[in-house]
Symmetry: C2
Subunit: 141 residues, 2 copies
DNA sequence: AACCATTTTGTTATATTATAACGTAACTGA
DNA sequence: TCAGTTACGTTATAATATAACAAAATGGTT
């Protein structure tokens, strides 16, 4: 969170209270959350003024554009970034048993180099590996 | 299509007329299509008996389970596989200008090896690189 | 053929995810 | 304080996907 604050100050961006709320919910979760889960959490914490989906989606859009969170495409869900402000492509290992998501800290995958060699100008990469984590395999075995 | 037919015969699977229709639409498209685009195309071809979403989603599920098509997670869309029946993980380059999708024929990406080393049992991988293809860069430049 | 079990298709309704459009409030710099 | 801009709030609706159950087709068995 303090990282996020610093990052926004450096970039002259407004980490408003709404955006901070959404980021805090994702940071506290340690798991991917759907937009409507986040919405429900916001409304649970403050039931007096019920807010609507666009509020959440706009905050998520801001946080994604600054690399503070990621979208897990294969889950329609969002998760806080483990190293905010990094440039390298995010890569995830997603356990379909315990639902835990690990964000790998690797440097850019070779595929991006290959894309470059093909003359393809990369904007954004989605790398999401689904399976069973080591922990869950032990429990099952 | 004949590949698909052979593959299903070998595996003792029923490539029914509905499934064939959906596969043919995707094969003819050469581009990703949304489930509702496919639905519209089915209903355009045969306006007499209007069909509903579950029909399409079930055909898509079958075709995906047999590796005849892929889902592009970042687009909520489906595309026919360029080498049906292959085992390796699919990887896509997606141009956000011309919307063309290239499926790379590489062997498994190193990340899968790494996942394995971490004791993670991989089920499925999603690799989708978005950007501008070489063609579109020329036109723009 | 007649039967049963299984799979596939069809139908209706509804859930889930996301955005358009427009008005209001807050912030920023002059 | 004023204008310009950005962010927030609200309503409605679009786009994507599935649950649940009924009907039909298929495949093997008698
Ligand atoms: Zn990250
Ligand atoms: Zn697990
Ligand atoms: Zn493929
Ligand atoms: Zn292109």
């Amino acid at each position: 969170m303090s990282e996020a604050r610093q990052l926004c100050e450096t970039r002259k961006l407004r980490l408003t209270s709404r955006r901070r709320q959404v980021l805090e919910i994702l940071l506290a979760s340690h798991q991917p959350m759907g937009a409507y889960d986040i919405l429900a959490e916001l409304n649970r914490v403050n039931p007096s003024a019920i807010i609507a989906p666009p509020i959440v989606y706009r905050a998520l859009e801001f946080l994604m554009s600054e690399g503070l969170i990621h979208r897990i495409e294969s889950r329609n869900a969002f998760i806080s970034c483990v190293h905010p402000g990094h440039q390298c492509a995010a890569q995830f290992l997603i356990c379909r048993d315990c639902e835990q998501v690990a964000e790998l800290e690797d440097s850019d995958p070779p595929l991006l180099v290959e894309a470059d060699n093909l003359g393809f100008a990369v904007d954004h990469s989605v790398v999401e590996i689904t399976g069973i984590c080591a922990q869950c395999q032990k429990h099952a075995g």
